[in-house]
């Protein structure tokens, strides 16, 4: 908040440049100066605290602190951004991580110290905006400040003598100033004119709008909902809390009130650059879906793409990821099907080498666990072994090994569908070595130890959707745009004052004195003031200005 010369009146005004600073005290800075250091009474302390908090210097230090405090969040992994990387950091730095965690360094932007800084800034801002709004409203209603007695003392003051009567001089000046958008007021033999009120309006609007942005963020943390779900081709999703893989409702959201839409993923299309230097780079991802806003609504078909989410009755569905789900059939030794399904695998690299597990708890002598890689374009590299060399499924293959024993599914504890807990399982052996198999679509492999057989039937694709709504979003956007408007006004407009006094000399001539002030961040008088004075001189019948005035203006 640009309160410099206002709140820090005693220091702020005296360090300015010469006459300008004096005029600040005299005219522009209407805020009364605070008394000398307060006593120790509670009122005195309160006043001291208020002065400290609302001083420009405090605001500035808080701003610098805020910038500094934001840095660690970009260097250390953040839970809010990606909890997995935080867990990895804990594994890699077991000694350091707990200490960093105690300092909230994995939750920087939700940490107490980060909040302390921006809340103090809000207090500082309020302490500045509120009184300044009052002052500005008063200034808007008030008349331009009366001309100082000694105009010639102001920097850039000019004077000339004309034969026109004083009244004519003032009238002509008034017309000229009005034409330039000044608010003009006459007091006795002098005119006082001011313009650029929108500068302060913009300044206040900007700061108030920042509070609006923060308000929108708070609104979001209370009422926003976001969740994600993985949907295989041919599968459906109904918008109820249980259907989500992960759901984070805002603090005041009742999850049972989610809009009742449903969608089915009909087809997922992925296209990659087939050749050229960017071979393998993504070209298009498209999820063709059929969806209904409510169970009774007519089904509609649409395509969800990256950057083109679906607006589904109050919530928005974003496509944020995709991958492969290989299909397997497991038969027991008698040839009966005990498992037949597509299993989503998680991509592990840019060429979509994907890992996953198949869990078969029933129908075999023991629980069966398959640990597998799905390689969409499989190549066996002499050094690295099986790898995928292209993200699209040009030559899909599955590489797997198998475990038998207890999957632990009966214990009733939640476990990841992407990981196999092999603590109570043993790896199947074949010929004295761990059992391994490589299958292309349609191939069957017989599992050792009478565990039946496994068929790799092919693959489906899956899409990962994020489903979100944030009622704070429009508030944030609206406020941000207002802030931008305010910023533009406060930086582009200059507040200017012009005074002109016409004094009859008694011999039929008139002495005209003119002076102007620009209150902008030390940009000084613009060339336009010189220009203005020249115009006034001409308009009031004075001789044209000497070129000195224009030449003195260096920029």
């Amino acid at each position: 908040m640009a309160t410099g010369t206002d709140t820090g009146a005693p220091t702020g005004a005296t360090t300015g440049t010469g006459a300008l600073a004096g005029a600040h005290r005299a005219g522009l800075d209407t805020r009364p100066e605070e008394p000398r250091p307060p006593g120790l009474g509670p009122l005195g302390w309160a006043r001291w605290a208020r002065r400290l908090l609302t001083s420009m210097r405090t605001a500035l230090v808080l701003l610098l602190l805020l910038a500094l405090a934001a840095v660690p969040g970009s260097v250390l992994p953040q839970r809010a951004v990606n909890p997995v990387t935080v867990a990895e950091y804990f594994r890699a730095n077991p000694d350091l991580a707990p200490w960093l965690d105690r300092l909230s360094l994995f939750d920087v932007y939700r940490s107490p110290w980060f909040a302390a800084i921006y809340l103090l800034l809000v207090v500082s801002l309020l302490g500045c905006v509120v009184p300044r709004t009052r002052l500005h409203l008063r200034a808007l209603l008030a008349r331009p400040p009366v001309a100082p007695r000694q105009l010639s003392r102001l920097a850039g003051a000019d004077s000339w003598i004309t034969t026109a009567p004083a009244a004519d001089v003032l009238a002509a000046t008034r017309v000229e100033l009005r034409r330039r958008g000044f608010r003009v007021d006459r007091a006795g033999d002098a005119l006082a004119a001011e313009k650029g009120y929108l500068r302060e309006t913009g300044n206040l609007l900007f700061h108030a709008a920042l509070l609006g942005v923060l308000g929108g963020v708070v609104l979001g943390s209370l009422f926003a909902v976001k969740g994600s779900v993985l949907v295989e081709e041919g599968e459906g999703f109904a918008n109820t809390p249980v259907a989500y893989d992960e759901l984070t409702p805002g603090r005041l959201v009742d999850p049972s009130t989610l809009p009742p839409f449903a969608l089915t993923l009909d087809d997922f299309r992925a296209r990659f650059a087939e050749s050229g230097p960017q071979r393998g780079a993504a070209r298009e991802f498209a999820a063709d879906v059929t969806w209904r806003a409510t169970p009774d609504a007519p089904a509609r078909r649409t395509t969800i793409r990256v950057n083109h989410p679906l607006d589904a009755g109050g919530e928005t569905v974003y496509l944020i990821g995709h991958g492969y789900a290989p299909r397997f059939t497991v038969r027991n030794a008698e040839g009966e099907v005990v498992f037949a399904d597509a299993v989503p695998f998680l991509p592990q690299d840019g060429n979509f080498a994907s890992s996953g597990v198949v869990k078969v708890p029933d129908g075999l002598p023991q629980d069966l666990g398959i640990q597998a890689w799905f390689l969409p374009t499989a190549v066996v590299d002499p050094q690295r072994g099986p790898v995928s060399v292209f993200p699209d499924a040009k030559a899909p293959a599955v590489f797997l090994t198998a475990y038998a024993g207890d999957l632990g599914l009966d214990a009733g504890l939640p476990q990841s569908v992407y990981q196999l807990d092999t603590d109570r399982m043993r790896q199947l052996q074949e010929g004295g070595e761990p059992f391994r198999a490589r299958l292309v679509a349609g191939e069957v492999v017989t599992l050792p130890d009478g565990m039946g057989s496994l068929t790799f039937d092919g693959y489906l694709r899956w899409a990962n959707f994020r489903i979100a709504r944030d009622p704070g979003g429009p508030v944030v956007l609206g406020s941000a745009l207002l802030a931008l408007v305010g910023l533009g006004l406060s930086l582009a407009i200059r507040r200017r004052r012009v005074w002109l006094r016409a004094t009859p000399t008694g011999d039929g001539r008139t002495v005209v004195e003119a002076a102007g002030l620009t209150r902008a961040d030390s940009t000084g008088r613009g060339a336009d003031f010189t220009d203005l004075v020249a115009r006034l001189r001409t308009a009031t019948g004075g001789a044209p200005a000497a070129p000195v005035a224009a030449a003195a203006e260096e920029d």
Partner: protein
């Protein structure tokens, strides 16, 4: 209309030519700066004499003035040539950028090579706009130095052949958000040149006031322009760039909302955009705060630009995040 497979190599060649032309212009500005010092000395010496004879001989009335004018004239010619070269380089550069965009059929802001050359283009563009309004040739050296560096790095380290966009970047917001960011980078670079020069000139001024000789570089800086004028140029440039940067951040947030389901997520790029924004806001406040005007404010502006540069390049290179594809 040329085919893309002709346009792309044409763009590359033009980009190299532009870099060469800028490099020569840079030498020109540096030479002008070096000669310009004597020019200023001549001028300042000439002033009292000039004033003394102003009444009788309006122009060139004294030997001192003549000497000063001649020396300035030589530097002036070099400076004018540098400006002409800057214009030529800009024309080549602009053509290269347009050709690159046409070759790929999109806004040419899709990877680090394109950001770097785009930012350099914006920097020269802003400098030329400023030149058209006022004589700011004294900023030439410090403006073109980062430009030549960025172009050189782009052509050698960041180079990526022209190609279509990955789906995440395939949005009309690319043109809006990244163009605003690239132009902001040009404005902030020019502002930084003025700020650096201001710090040197101010250091020299203070030494002179203390009765000591200024250092070589600061002496040159002081000879080029007054600290006050430089400070003003820096402020005005930032005051123009800051709202644009604000807009770039807002546009980015709108795009993030459409692409990633949230308008703000503290992705490293977003975080550093925030840091840059807060620091420039700090600079604008510092300029209105007693005790912080001048040098302290200038240092905040430099910190803000460092954060900006780190965001433009460092985040892409060293920190992985959602903006990593660039």
């Amino acid at each position: 209309m040329l085919a893309p497979d002709l346009l792309a190599p044409l763009s590359d060649r033009l980009m190299v030519s532009a870099t060469g032309v800028y490099a020569i212009a840079l030498v020109g500005y540096a030479a002008q700066a070096a000669y310009g010092v004597r020019g200023r000395v001549g001028r300042t010496l000439a002033v009292p004499v000039g004033v003394g004879v102003a009444g009788e001989a309006p122009a060139g009335g004294s030997g001192e003035v003549a000497v000063g004018t001649v020396r300035r004239g030589k530097a002036d010619v070099v400076g004018r040539a540098a400006v002409a070269l800057t214009l030529l380089g800009f024309a080549l550069h602009l053509t290269a950028t347009v050709a690159r965009g046409l070759a790929a059929g999109r806004a040419p802001w899709g990877n680090l090579y394109e950001f770097a050359t785009g930012s350099a283009l914006a920097t020269v563009g802003v400098f030329l706009v400023l030149l058209a309004r006022r004589d700011v040739r004294h900023l030439g050296t410090l403006v073109l130095l980062p430009v030549v560096l960025a172009m050189g790095l782009a052509l050698t380290v960041f180079y990526a052949p022209s190609g279509p966009l990955i789906p995440a970047l395939n949005s009309s917001w690319l043109a809006i958000h990244v163009t605003a960011a690239v132009v902001s980078s040009g404005i902030f670079t020019v502002a930084t040149a003025a700020t650096v020069l201001y710090l040197f000139a101010d250091a020299a001024d203070r030494r002179v006031r203390a009765g000591r000789r200024p250092g070589t570089l600061s002496g040159i800086a002081r000879g080029l322009a007054s600290p006050e004028a430089l400070d003003r140029t820096a402020y005005r440039t930032v005051a123009f760039g800051f709202p644009l940067w604000t807009f770039a951040v807002i546009a980015g947030a709108i795009w993030a909302e459409a692409a990633w389901s949230r308008y703000w997520g503290w992705d490293p790029k977003e975080t550093w955009a925030f840091i840059t924004w807060v620091l420039y806001a700090g600079y604008l406040h510092a300029r209105a705060t007693a005790g912080w005007r001048g040098r302290a404010a200038a240092w905040i502006a430099l910190a803000a630009f460092a954060a900006f540069l780190f965001n433009l390049f460092g985040v892409n290179i060293w920190i992985s995040g959602l903006h990593s594809y660039a």
